[in-house]
Symmetry: C2
Subunit: 342 residues, 2 copies
DNA sequence: TGTTAGCACTCTCTCTTAATGAGTGCTAAC
DNA sequence: GTTAGCACTCATTAAGAGAGAGTGCTAACA
């Protein structure tokens, strides 16, 4: 059995109507709402075929049909009209991103909020991968007696500061000297590279000041360890999920929000290592908690280098056309903003 | 009509049982569970009195009684056995706070998580009031051409960095000079004071370098504005609310979480300007969304100065004894940690 | 051969009704 | 002042009856 034009029309009708109403749809309703020029009985025959093909299914005998995961997949791949972001939405995005924003974190969290507001879905944004970014420069600043502020500038532009104990009183000059050596040796290396080999080299170079260096290495090691594990996830509009009829059951809400709380598993949803735009539908998802959800995700870049991913999460019954258009537009816009900053 | 010893015993029984079971409790059950030496009929008479006094109420005729807000209040003020934190819990807290933690934000968010885990309630922690903290020192560090990193150290110990445009190329020396003047003039002033009067003074002092100063003032003003509005709230264990039978209704969950999302109203819950430990029960709350909730809050200090507040939020039917003990212990512990850091 | 009308059948949803049970207030006896 | 007894109330639960939406199948039709 093959898909013909009429079957495609009917499948599209089912998907569109189900996305809009969240109710199983029957042959009679299709005939009434969509002008296909055939009677409900004919549509029924076609629907039986579509069910055999695995594209739609019945929640129970004698109810309407709903699209299966495979049905959504066919819809997304073959039936969907490519949509563009409306001018109104474009304007909102433009206006928001024209605000002067200083830190990269702010740009990201802004993006996250915007995504969820425009789609009425939950947004997931994976921040710049710290582990992959390379070391730029470090500075010491005075803080308390026995403590200094260590400011680290990475080559992707992020700036971090940490208070570190230096254990003994050191002069500003000595600190500058240490910083200078570190800066000279480490510039342009990824943090993991720094961690593995370079520290020893630096250690040799500065061996005259053993004690001072020991402390500096200690603090640096601590910071590097921190960074490698931490790769922040930004969530937005989690409450939008509660408006979906799919989550009118409190048990589902609980398990969903429990996953939201522990960020680790969310990273898997974004498939951050897959370039470009991706649509994951229902059961295609690896996490069992999200079998009933779909994810539209895409990666963003700085200077041609993929550094993170954004996505929206919603029930499989989501408006794919709209969501895809917005995610696509936002990643482009994000890439542009981040590139301009440099 | 007066409260006598037997009425007190019965009220305590009702409150304790209701806290434990979340079910309205009847005279028969009280007689069975609590050994008062009187029959259900006698208890019924007393309960009628307690209802007249407004301390308990009936959800509907012919159901058991539940404590009213006034009943909880009487229980908290007069009936409750003062509880202490168990050794087991103390150990958890000690172990957690012995971890080396660098930033004040980390200390706060740690506290928040701990509070919610120990109480199974939702924790609310109001971070140090930035508006009230006084300016310590500022530094400029090189960043990109045309941009510098502005590092601000406040006297409460927080360190912030911001990227600021300087619009034109300035030498390191010139920047140092500007920073020196700012540092000399501003040290020890609150940010709002700085904003109002001192800026003009600095402006006079450095009028030789108009352009440079204009930019510096612009960025500083921006940062000060930011800080004044931002006074971060840390929430923990919001999901614990979903386990409470009070929130088995999805509508309630929605409105509750909506309030959680916009932090502003949460600040009101903590009564951050009221020194010491506070218990707010049900309708005593100003926010209508929290009429069915109680809040235990307390302030914490650094160097004798109140700088923030922590609290737990739960249904009025919460274990007040335990919650009060933990909140009290945690604020003391927090005060101690923050004071030691200085 | 594809399309359509008709019809019996299935299954969910909702509304009604009845039974159960926990708990009360009142009265009268102790 | 305390208690036993009893009639009454009201939420909760289970069972049953329609109603409604939708299907699959058969037979007629173009």
């Amino acid at each position: 059995m093959q898909m013909d034009e009429r079957k495609r029309k009917i499948l599209r009708a089912i998907v569109q109507d189900y996305i809009a109403t969240a109710e199983p749809i029957g042959s009679r309703t299709i005939a009434r709402k969509f002008d296909l020029g055939v009677s409900p009985a004919t549509i029924r025959n076609e629907m039986a075929d579509l069910e055999d093909l695995g594209l739609i299914e019945q929640p129970h005998t004698s109810s309407g049909r709903v699209p299966s995961d495979a049905g959504y997949r066919y819809f997304v791949d073959c039936l969907m009209d490519p949509q563009t972001v409306s001018d109104e939405q474009k304007e909102i995005i433009e206006r928001e991103s024209s605000k002067r924003i200083h830190e990269i974190q702010e740009v990201i969290s802004h993006t996250s909020r915007l995504l969820s507001e425009l789609t009425n879905l939950t947004s997931i944004v994976l921040g710049p991968q710290k582990g992959k970014s390379t070391f730029g420069k470090m500075h010491f600043l005075p803080y308390q007696p026995g403590q200094v502020i260590l400011v680290i500038v990475k080559e992707n532009g992020t700036v971090e500061n940490h208070i570190v104990d230096i254990g003994e009183n050191l002069t500003t000059d000595e600190l500058q000297q240490v910083a200078a050596v570190f800066n000279q040796k480490m510039r342009g290396y990824s943090l993991s590279q720094v961690k593995r080999s370079l520290l020893h080299e630096i250690y040799d170079e500065l061996s005259r000041q053993r004690l001072l260096i020991d402390n500096t290495l200690d603090m640096l090691r601590e910071i590097l360890d921190d960074n490698e594990q931490e790769e922040r996830i930004y969530l937005g509009g989690t409450l939008n999920m509660l408006n979906q009829p799919e989550f009118k059951d409190l048990g589902k809400v609980k398990t969903l929000f429990k996953v939201f709380e522990e960020n680790e598993s969310l990273k898997k949803l974004l498939q951050p290592y897959q370039e470009g735009l991706n649509v994951t539908i229902g059961g295609e998802n690896t996490l069992k908690e999200f079998k009933g959800c779909s994810v539209i995700s895409a990666t963003y870049k700085v200077n041609g280098l993929t550094i993170g991913a954004v996505g929206v999460l919603g029930p499989t019954r989501m408006d794919y056309g709209k969501a895809i258009a917005i995610v696509d537009f936002m990643t482009r816009s994000l890439t542009e903003i981040l590139t301009k900053r440099r």
